[in-house]
């Protein structure tokens, strides 16, 4: 069947540079989610389950229309229903489609120690390669959006793939295709940012949402999924969307300076050893060292 492949631009746990890096022009894909037109119908949830042949699980009722509290290893796409009371006492029902954000600088990929278990394709999609996953769960720590989920039976971590199988064949992701209100869009990152800015401007100028804006957090280098929010100054209202998501400091330190310190210590030690050998030669036993031993023998 299909032997489709996608070029990689970032590899987890990989020593040295990515082979063939920057030898091809890049076309970044992006999802645009306009939360102002989402009606919470969950067509995207169903389409995701259907396309990816995910096994069904029990839903959790928690006095809300939300299917379950958070995404699962077999439930990658979840609409979060949030009730927000405005200053004038009126209620706003904020719905947000929650899934992998496909960050340009993914925390999961930075934290992953297994070579090639998490890759970022040149089109920006961050994908888990379960056959190389060692199930350590560091990606869960590295993700600022709490997306990767561990499956206890297979001992692997799973998340939204942005339908790489569809996208690589020129189709849009399943969730995007299903959306009946057109609140989901798919295209190149530049086009989606333009559309998002247009929509945010429309909301500010004509729909009495003076704080409307686009959510494309620079802390993770921008994301492959961008939101239009009614109130871009308070993304937390939308089911805890972090205002300034960043790769956790522990992961950054561990994979940044500490890793290099460790490498320098290890390689430096070896080089030092070798240089010492060249300079001074093999260690020669000194005769005096034997004396106390001989003295104790008689």
């Amino acid at each position: 069947m299909s032997q489709e492949t996608l070029r990689i631009q970032k590899i987890s746990g990989h020593a040295g540079s990515v082979p063939g890096e920057d030898t091809q022009r890049q076309y970044t894909v992006c999802k645009l989610i306009d939360t102002t037109t989402c009606i919470g119908c969950k067509a995207c949830e169903v389409a995701c389950m259907e396309w990816n042949d995910l096994p069904f699980g029990e839903t959790v009722f928690d006095n809300s229309y939300q299917t379950m509290p958070e995404t699962r290893w077999n439930y990658w796409n979840l609409i979060l229903f949030n009730e927000h009371e405005r200053e004038d006492g009126s209620l706003m029902w904020l719905m947000r489609k929650n899934q992998c954000m496909h960050c340009a600088e993914p925390g999961c990929l930075a934290a992953c120690p297994s070579d090639g278990a998490i890759v970022q394709y040149t089109n920006g999609i961050v994908d888990f390669q379960q056959d190389k996953c060692i199930g350590c769960g560091y990606c869960i720590t590295g993700c600022p959006f709490n997306i990767p989920k561990f499956n206890k039976e297979t001992k692997r971590v799973y998340k939204c793939t942005l339908c790489t199988d569809r996208v690589s064949q020129g189709l849009e992701p399943a969730c995007i295709k299903s959306c009946p209100t057109g609140c989901l869009h798919f295209g190149s990152k530049d086009d989606m940012k333009y559309l998002a800015e247009q929509r945010a401007k429309q909301l500010r100028d004509h729909y009495n949402f003076p704080k409307a804006g686009v959510y494309d957090p620079p802390g993770v280098g921008g994301t492959g999924v961008i939101y239009v929010l009614h109130d871009a100054s308070q993304p937390e209202l939308y089911g805890g969307l972090p205002k300034d998501p960043r790769i956790p400091l522990s992961v950054k330190l561990w994979k940044g300076p500490l890793k290099w310190l460790g490498n320098i210590a290890m390689v430096g030690g070896l080089i030092g050893l070798f240089a010492h050998y060249l300079r001074y030669g093999p260690k020669e036993r000194e005769e005096e060292a034997k004396e106390p031993h001989e003295g104790a023998q008689p």
Binding site: G20, K177, S178
Partner: protein, 193 residues
Amino acid sequence: MASSRRDFLKIGAVGGTAAAVFGFDLKPAFAQLRELKIERANETRSTCPYCAVGCGTIIYTIGDRAKNVTAQVVHVEGDPDHPTNRGTLCPKGSSLQQEIMNDRRLLKPLVRRPGGTEWEDISWDDAISEIARRVKKTRDETFVEKDAAGHTVNRLESIAWIGGCTDTNEFNYLVVKAMHALGVVHLENQARV
């Protein structure tokens, strides 16, 4: 030192090996993707049976309609060329594959007796003759020939018919004919899709 040049070459060789081991490969990296499950599937255009909007769908089946193949539905999604929905589907429409594939589908007639709490199995023959008996009895008892003002109405108000969403147009046609013949006026089906 006499050995310095040789040592330099040694270090160079070690460094080169290390570089090769730690990957300075110029061949681009690729990753194998999941295969597209509808790549060689057959596309059949259809209409979503659920509501009156009538969205266009594409049903993907494996097999190429050869004589020895029984087609199997693998995926259903919206028809982008359909003017009603242009590829989109609601959550019910998105789950259409399950209307065909789900193992919880009802495949046989069941009956819940008056006052009963459990559904019991019943054969098609028994079900149809029992329905016929009850329809006859009800109709004989409650048929309205003339209303209070003396107009001839010939109607049957004690029986209602509700058609299911997956009934075909042909089936609905027959239903309307049969129900009108009985005088049923509380008649609803989904022939509008």
